[in-house]
Structure formats: structure tokens, C-alpha cells
Symmetry: C2
Subunit: 457 residues, 2 copies
């Protein structure tokens, strides 16, 4: 049999828009021993994580918990809960992840209206509000920080306009939560989805979400308790039981006998011969959430004191998320946002001193991503490979129309540090020189140091 | 601001049917530093994990990879890929997780036929085959190891009958993979879903799956490439682009200009004013998979050499899964199955010597779970609490009709050890005595030691 080697990943300096380096404290948290999912110690950790997430999301919402999957599982869970087939949606698109919201919503059966900005721009809030008034959607789904283009969309006026009109708004804050302000309550956002592996510097695997009572009301209208969980005395909540199907009744009957080992007579076995049950017509109303795994009405029961069994909570990932959010709250949200702005300034100053052109409208630049136009005649992928192979530093390319046109440099969470910015600028300069680019050698790092020695932005 | 304490979970002996204790090597693997998702070192780990999973599943299938979520995310992904609305399904039910398969399938729009056995039994293969011939389903979905009742369903004859009839079969092997034989190819199983936190002793968070070309053919008929990923030269694969919608075209057009910083004139901005795009009628065919996150046709592109971006692979969980499967393969599958049988024998011998009654038909007992009838007059939850609080040992209760009627004791993966079995038997005896139960003190551990000193089963 082939032997597989010990895992031994090379340490990397990760300056992409995610996944970024995890704080060593987070990595250590994952090495704690497992607790059972209903162990009181573990449910206490679940409750405490909810409390911490409320602080992180700046909300008084009851519901703030992680969906057990990567960021897009959180997006899909929120959209699956808030979209009933035929609902009208407005998705303002200004990059790849707006297209993703469109895609998710269409698959869920929404009638999706879109407005679109050229990549590199964001919307004037009034443009979105006019589109809302033109199509009167049930839900607006919008990206806050668009990593594909490095832009941030102001949301406060849009959120308030939705609230005034009785329209729900769901926000993709995957790239921004923990790095730039996300004001769930102050901006009147009904549902917000954050990301683990970006500004929280937790490994990919959980999607923290929050939603308010307006969003919950929609979930509760669509709720159904899972078959096989109802206790014997409680009638099944679905049509099959109500219509007298033998299926749910068989289990309690079988149990009532509680046959001892070896006590089953051939007659008893014969009486247990299965009968084919056809589909029950009333089994599923049109409004029931079509996913079970991503059904927020079930997930919130699992996260509630009822602890109604659903999935098995990801033990080690929850340890990681708790530690990651704890680190954020210990640093302080305002202090953390200021740190991200400081290193953004140093990085941008360095890139400009090197003569690199930043992509996109600077008025709406996202603090945690810098998009750099790949210079004429330079092979962008060759530069990225050399940075990774020779210097151990990773930067990103982009998607779709921007593939091969820009690099994306992230300054997120634990990766957002003076050391990383300075090392990256020096290494990028060397790699560009090696690729024959013309630039003013030495200027980039000096410009960044000027920012750091100035001490503030 | 309230300070949150250091994470410090109490070490537990976890004798439930999952989550169980993780091997310390697995916990250490998660503390490795993060690699980027497209870092060649990381994609090599992805490829190697696929290779290891093929060995684990005993298959030559091309596709064997984890779904990024807990076990039921794998079940839902497989069913979402294989069920088109209106497809006819047969679900043989013999416990809670058969009900779950029914629930998942109904939500996906299948016409679900069921047959049911009283809990504590499994089906004669011929009973399932007769039901297949009676309802002629497109797909059979069935549980292999049912943890709610501690039973194992023989699958070989059922798999072969499906193959002969050109019917697909999908199997929930969450509780069995890595603990008892799961022969994907030899039993003609088209799709199999395993679990991480059970016999693999990896923390909950990934669902290893495999499926063959017959299953893949169904996925490929339903495939659609995600919007926002198409390069500029490549027409969008969906109806919107074909029908001339301005939406996908706007992005390349905006990019072609690639405006330099500050170069946007008011005129350029005005020309970029958004136009409301109504829903495209042809946007979504009836057969497109309704989930994006759990769309296997997208996931397999991400796991293929094309590496088409989807989610951000869970870095640390993949490290854990790789290490967990590596440990299984190092131990050897046959040796591992024998170890599970040995500790099962010792546990059962101990329980019987103590005078406890095992629940369910012994002919179909699942080796990795022992279900014990809670003795008359004993408060089952009080026993479980005392075991946990005084001895640090966790056992499980059950669901629905079995709630409060049985305890479930798992012997899975790393938790399946002589030490754990002996400690549990001694502790359970002490707790039962403390609850006033009548039993023959001292006998349980002696009976288990007899098995161990016998050296084999």
C-alpha cells in the first residue's frame, strides 16, 4: 500500500482577499479535544459565540450564529429562507459576487431584477432606491465589499429606504465583517452574512450570519419540523401523519413492543412486512424551504434552548470561530478598522511610489483589497508564481472579465500587518524588475515606511 | 466590554454514535498554517485526499471528495444532484435517518415512495427488491448504518438489483464508513456519503462522498456554469446572454475601458447609469440543480484540474480529513473493522453480564453502536448526566419514539478502544448502582476482560 507523507505545509505570507493567514491562537484553539454537541460545556460555547457575534455585527438581534459551511453557504441559507418561489428580488451588481447573488436567487425561484455598474464602480444609493421604486421587490440582495473589484458599497441610505418601504434587505458582508464597519442595526439591514477566512482570519468553514425579527417572521411562516424527530405523543407536523399514513405511526408501534433480544417470533416478523406507501399529496407546501441543510428555521431551533437536533455542529470550527471573534473584540472594532486603514494607506503609497496603477474608482475603494492593473507586457501569472515560489508570498488574480487584467492584494485580519506590507512591497518590486518592468527601485518600501513613521493615516 | 475566557474544554471520553473523540494527530493537523486555495501545495493536498478517499470507499470512481459541510450536507448534495423534480424515489425506512432521506427528497421535489420496518429491524433485501419492482423508482436512497436504532442494512443484493434494473442507488454510510465494510464498487452503489465525526474520528465539518459515471451522467445533464465566472471571450452559458440581455455584456465593456485612477469624467459616469433589467424568462431550466452551494456539478469542476472557483475550500478541515483518512489507511481497513468488532464484543459481553438488555434484533446489530434499553424505573437522562459530570464519559439518548427508551453507546474510530470500553462499563455500573438499579456488581468489567484476554472474537 502506498504511504502518504506527513502533512507539512510551507508557511506562507497570504496577501489575497481570502483565505488569509489564521491567527496562531485560532489554529491552537482547533487542537482542543472534542466535546459532544449536547454537552453543556459545548452548548455554553455555542451561546457565548452567539453573544460575541452580536457584538461583531453591531446588532441586538436574537439570531446571530454561524451556518456550518463556507461563506456562500451562509448566503444561500439566508436567500433560501427569505425567497419564496415567485418572490421579486432586486440585485444591484457591481462585480462577481453580485452575479453570485443573482445566480443563487434564480436557482431559488425568484424573479430577479438587476441593475449593474461597470466593474470598478459602485452605486449611488439613489440609483438603487430608484430601481427599488421602479420594480417594488420583496427583497433586495446586495454585496457590501466586492472583492472581485475591490469596491465597497455604502449601504446606510439603501437600508433605510428599504425599511421605510417595508422591503427586506440581505447583505453579503463576507469580505468586510471585522475589517471595515458593518452596522447591522444602524443601517437597517435585515440579514447580514459574514465570512470566516477574510477579516476574521479564521479558516474557511463557517459563515456567521445575523437576521432580525422581520426576517425571522418570513422563516417562521415556512417552518416545518423534521420527520423522525417528533416524540411519540406529538403528532407529526406534516401532511402524511394528518392524512393517516401508516409510516410515522409504525415507529411508535414498533417501539411500544420493545422486543427483547431474540424475542421476535416469525409471526411478529411477518406482521412487520413492509407495505409500499405512495407519496402523500399534501406532503410539502409550496412555501417550505427546499433545502434542509440550509434551512434557517431548523438551524435556529438547533441554536435555541430547545436544541432540536439538526446537523452535528462543527466542533473544531466553532472553537476557531469563537477564538477568532474573541480576538477581534479584544482588539476593539474601531481599533481594528483603524489598523486596516493604516496598512491600506501604506500599501497604496508603496504601490503608487513604485509606479503601479490602481484599478477602479478610488472614491469607493474597499480598504481591505487593493486592485493593481497588470502593467502592459507583463505576464501577471508569472509574477504571481514567482512571488509564491521564491518569496512565499501569495497575491490573487481576479475573475471573469478581470482575469489576467488585475492583481488583487488583500490586507485582511491577521495578514494585515506592517511586516506583511513591507515584505510584499519589496518582493513585488524585485519580481517586477526580474520581469523587465520599468520602475523606480527602492521607492515603494520607503513610501510605506513614511506612512508608518507618520504614525497615522 | 465583557471579556471572554480562554477556551478550555474538559477532556471527555465520548462513547456516543458521534461526534466522537478525534485522534490527537488529527487535532494537531488542524494547527498547521493556512495555504491559499489555489496554492499548488494545497491543490496537491486536495488531489491526494481524493486518492485516499477512493481507497477508503473501495472504489475506482473518479469522483471521491468531501462536501464542505456536516454529514447531511453530503446527503443533500447527492440527492439534490440525482433528483430532478418529479423523479420517483424509493426510501426504505428503518429509523430516523431513513426519515431524513425522505424529508430531503421531498423538499427536492421527488415523488417519494416508502417502505418501513419497525425500529430495531432492517429489511430482507428481497423486501426492498419487491418494492422496487412495484414502484419502479428512478433512485433508491437508503441508510447503511442507522445510528438511531443501532442497525445495519445489508446492501449488496439491493445494489446489484438496482444495477440490473438500471436504477440508481444512493447510500447514507455516514455511520459506517471506516468502521464496518462499505464496498462501493463490489456492491454496485452509485453514490455513497460518509461521515467525518464518526468512525473516521475527524471533527464534524466535512462529508466525504463518492459517485460513479452513472451518477455523474445525471449531474452533467443538469450542469450550468456560474454567472460572473465566464471570461470575456466566452459567451455566458445561460439564457440571459443568449437572449441578448445587457447584464453580462456590461462587465466586459466596463473593463475594456479600464479607467485609470481619477480618469472618470462625469460623462463616463452618466453613461454608466444603471438600467433596470427584468428577469430573463429563459434564465433557469427546470432541471438545473436548485442549490448552488451543494451543486455537485460545480463541486466536481472545483475538484478537477480546471479548479473552477466555487467556494473557498475549508483549509483546516481538509488537513483534518486527510490526516484522519491517512490514519485509517495506515491501520488497514480490515484491521480496523476487526478492531471495531473486538471492542463491540467486549462492550456487549460487559453489558449483558451487568444484566442490561440490548435493544433491537441482534441479527442486524451495527457493530459500532450498542443500544441499551433503559431499565424500568431508572431515569435515563439522570444516568447520562451523572456519567458525564462525575466520570467525564458521554453516552447518547435517541430520537423520536426511542427518546427516553434507550441509551446508545458508540464504539467508533479513536473512541473505540479497550480503555474506553473498560472505563465505561465500570462507570455505568457505578452510576446504575447509585440510581438504585439491581445488578451483579463487578461482573461487567470481568466479562469484557475475558473477551480481551481471549484475544479475538
Amino acid at each position: 500500500m502506498k504511504r502518504y507523507a506527513d502533512l507539512s505545509p510551507t508557511p506562507r505570507t497570504i496577501m489575497t482577499p481570502g483565505p488569509v493567514e489564521a491567527d496562531p491562537r485560532v489554529l491552537r484553539a482547533m487542537s482542543h479535544t472534542i466535546l459532544g454537541q449536547f454537552d453543556p460545556e459545548f452548548t455554553a460555547i455555542m451561546n457565548e459565540t452567539m453573544e460575541m457575534l452580536r457584538e461583531l455585527f453591531r446588532t441586538d438581534n436574537r439570531w446571530a450564529y454561524p451556518v456550518d459551511g463556507t461563506s456562500r453557504s451562509g448566503l444561500e441559507a439566508v436567500l433560501a429562507g427569505l425567497i419564496e418561489p415567485g418572490d421579486r428580488l432586486l440585485v444591484p451588481i457591481f462585480g462577481r459576487f453580485g452575479h453570485l447573488l443573482t445566480e443563487l436567487s434564480q436557482r431559488l425561484g425568484a424573479e430577479v431584477y438587476t441593475i449593474e455598474k461597470p466593474w470598478g464602480e459602485v452605486f449611488e444609493p439613489q440609483e438603487v432606491i430608484e430601481a427599488i421604486d421602479a420594480c417594488r421587490p420583496d427583497l433586495v440582495a446586495i454585496v457590501h465589499g466586492e472583492t472581485s473589484t475591490g469596491r465597497v458599497q455604502p449601504l446606510e441610505a439603501i437600508g433605510k429606504a428599504c425599511r421605510e418601504r417595508g422591503i427586506l434587505i440581505a447583505v453579503d458582508a463576507v469580505a468586510t465583517l471585522g475589517g471595515v464597519p458593518v452596522e447591522t442595526d444602524a443601517w437597517c439591514l435585515d440579514a447580514v452574512v459574514g465570512g470566516a477566512q477574510k477579516c476574521l482570519s479564521v479558516p474557511s468553514g463557517m459563515a456567521p450570519i445575523t437576521y432580525n425579527e422581520r426576517a425571522e417572521a418570513k422563516l417562521l411562516r415556512r417552518k416545518r419540523v423534521e420527520r423522525g424527530l417528533q416524540p411519540p405523543s406529538e403528532p407529526a407536523a406534516d401532511g402524511a401523519a394528518a392524512s393517516g399514513s401508516a409510516a410515522p405511526a409504525a415507529a411508535p408501534a414498533g417501539l411500544a413492543a420493545l422486543p427483547a433480544v431474540g424475542s421476535l417470533s416469525p409471526a411478529a416478523l411477518a406482521s412487520a412486512a413492509p407495505t409500499l406507501q405512495p407519496p402523500a399529496a399534501s406532503e410539502l407546501g409550496g412555501s417550505v424551504i427546499r433545502s434542509n441543510y440550509l434551512d434557517l428555521s431548523q438551524l435556529q431551533d438547533y441554536w435555541s434552548p430547545a436544541r432540536l437536533n439538526h446537523h452535528t455542529e462543527m466542533t473544531s470550527m466553532l472553537y476557531a470561530l469563537r477564538e477568532g471573534v474573541r480576538i477581534v473584540l479584544e482588539e476593539g472594532l474601531e481599533e481594528r478598522f483603524a489598523r486596516h486603514r493604516l496598512h491600506e494607506s501604506a500599501l497604496v503609497a508603496g504601490l503608487e511610489a513604485m509606479g503601479q496603477r490602481l484599478y477602479g474608482n478610488p472614491a469607493c475603494k474597499l480598504a481591505v483589497v487593493a486592485c493593481v492593473e497588470i502593467p502592459e507586457g507583463i505576464d501577471g501569472e508569472s509574477v504571481r508564481s514567482m512571488l509564491l515560489e521564491q518569496f512565499g508570498i501569495e497575491i490573487a488574480s481576479s475573475f471573469g472579465p478581470l482575469k489576467g487584467r488585475i492583481w488583487r492584494i488583500g490586507t485582511m485580519g491577521y495578514s494585515c500587518s506592517k511586516r506583511n506590507v513591507l515584505l510584499l512591497l519589496g518582493a513585488l518590486e524585485a519580481v517586477l524588475l526580474r520581469h523587465g518592468a520599468e520602475l523606480k527601485a527602492g521607492a515603494a518600501v520607503q513610501a510605506a515606511l513614511d506612512i508608518y513613521e507618520g504614525g497615522s493615516v
